[in-house]
């Protein structure tokens, strides 16, 4: 039995379904990200776990105990908010000690614990400061250890880095992961930022329109997306309309250029299906025993580590991310070039129609 079990969770607001058919089993110490665009239900799902929203249906069990309808102050779940939500009237130390005080833990032991937590986020001398005297990143660090002070069974983070600068976001991201692993804290992290989700998580839950699209490791989500939504939401993706030539042998064509996919599919010949291909799988030049596509360069943008080339094949546009090399010749718009990619690099998306 999993540590945190969520079964068939549902939430309706008026006639609107925010979350439906949400099933998830989280192991102790696992870092799970709920990933999706705004309005996909990820925050609602998190708020139901926290107890701020009452589910319309379904159950939530934590360590074998059902908590579906118990109030948030009796769940022993820590929460970190996007807006930090530190109590402005209290010092940093009092903020961290708030939960301890409520649990009637005061005196030396609690002082020691507060100091330990301040050191955990490398702010040992900020105890006497007030929240407004700290930067955003520091405030969020304090909010994190405030939530950890009560030794929660689960830590929930609701877009905790969205209000911060890019540089601080990356630093704090690493720190959250370090602390989470150090404490072996079961964590659920809500984000719309795929990079955050990919870099932090043990498993990612991709959500769309209130339902789970896919659950899997970052590697699996990125490389083996099971739905068209996941494939296009996580990372860049070329979706090419290809005509089935011989489905059983994985043969297709794109504007009369033949393509091979290593996995066979069940589809009638001469129908059109969607072929998915990550831009970074493409390389410049023709290669034997690989798929080759020839087209006209529409644009080439130098982005530093990569050069992003847009290739036009008839009315289909393909994006190719080529790795930068010092001796490379960057394709020029109007030029005709050939790009290649292995058979196993592309796959056919499940047809929705």
């Amino acid at each position: 039995m999993a540590f945190l079990e969520i079964e068939n969770l549902q939430k309706q607001f008026g006639g609107l379904t925010a979350v439906s058919n949400f099933n998830l089993a989280v192991q102790q110490g696992e870092f799970i990200s709920l990933l999706g665009s705004s309005g996909c239900g990820k925050t609602t799902a998190l708020r139901m776990i926290a107890g701020f929203e009452r589910p319309s249906a379904g159950t939530i069990r934590l360590a074998g105990k059902e908590i579906t309808n118990s109030p948030p102050n009796q769940r022993n779940i820590g929460m970190v908010f996007q807006s930090y939500a530190l109590f402005p009237n209290m010092t940093v130390a009092d903020n961290i000690g708030f939960g301890l005080k409520i649990r009637k833990k005061t005196g030396n032991a609690s002082q020691k614990r507060i100091q330990e937590l301040l050191e955990l986020v490398k702010l040992p001398d900020k105890g006497k400061s007030y929240p407004y005297q700290l930067s955003g990143g520091q405030q969020q660090r304090i909010a994190l250890v405030r939530a950890l002070a009560i030794e929660p069974q689960v830590l929930l983070l609701d877009e905790p880095l969205s209000a911060l600068d890019a540089k601080i976001r990356v630093d704090l991201r690493a720190e959250i992961r370090r602390i989470q692993q150090q404490l072996n804290m079961t964590t659920i992290y809500v984000t719309h930022d795929q990079e955050e989700a990919l870099s932090l998580s043990d498993r990612i839950v991709v959500m769309n329109k209130g339902v789970i699209e896919q659950v899997g490791t970052p590697f699996a989500i990125y490389n083996y997306p099971t739905s068209a939504f996941t494939a296009s939401f996580v990372g860049q993706l070329n979706v090419l309309p290809v005509v089935v030539v011989d489905g059983k042998n994985g043969r297709f064509s794109l504007h009369n250029q033949s393509l091979t996919v290593s996995q066979p599919i069940q589809a009638a010949n001469n129908t059109t299906v969607s072929l998915a291909l990550r831009p970074e799988e493409l390389r410049l030049g023709r290669r034997e025993d690989e798929n080759n596509l020839t087209g006209i360069v529409e644009s080439a943008t130098f982005l530093g580590a990569i050069v992003r080339v847009r290739l036009q094949i008839a009315n289909t546009s393909i994006m190719a991310d080529l790795f930068n090399e010092r001796q490379m010749t960057v394709p020029k718009p109007g030029e005709t070039i050939t790009v290649s990619f292995p058979y196993h690099a592309c796959w056919i998306l499940e047809t929705t129609s």
Partner: protein, 265 residues
Amino acid sequence: MKKGSLWSWVWILLGVLYFFLPLLATLQFSLKAERGVYGFKAYELVLGDPQFVETFVFSIEIAVLTIVCSLLLIVPTVYWVHLRLPQIRPILEFIAFLPFVLPAVVLVFGLIRIYSRPPFALTNAVWSTNLLLVGAYMSLALPYMYRSVDTGLRAIDVRTLTEAAQSLGASWATILWRVIFPNLRTALLSGAFLTFAIVVGEYTIAAFLARPMYGPYLAGLVRNKAYEPAALSILTFGLTWGIMGIVQWLTYRAPGATQVTAGPR
């Protein structure tokens, strides 16, 4: 000096003259109780009058009671509306606006009509009349108290702070007492101060309910005496400014008490 700034000084000077000349005149008049010499005779008479002390202390008691009751009623109510029932805010605003358009004399007649006969014969005893007085003052002070609390709650991220406290295990009472009230300190102080000023200076309701308040006492004095009312006015002004000073001091004393929003939303 630039032309624009010269004109602004002229206007400020005119404003100062407009406000302070009557005050200066009153002060000068209040010092002339004895013919031919300046002295504090009028002040001695006022402060020596047992009725002054009695009405003043009684007014302060009523004011404090009004403030405490108002806070206990309004803070949790407005907090709850902010948190859970934002859709009824217009209704609350309308109610809070009513005392402005309803003259005190109408209010007190209504109160007397309803509460001087069974089943609510409150005017029969002194303590229950005092209760009625506090109730009336709570209505009078409602617009100011509501505005202050509402503005204060808007300045903080009530919802997220509440949820943060809840997730840390806090009960509703703890949240109100340890998180909401302290963060509203400035707002509550200004609301309390306005209420105090209204109650201490109020005449109509106190007079009709025949309670020995400071307002009716001052009015009576104006009718019968010449110099003492001037002295009283000056004293009252001094008191008002003193309280304002205290509010300012309390507001800026502790750095953490400064109103800071909870961060970007």
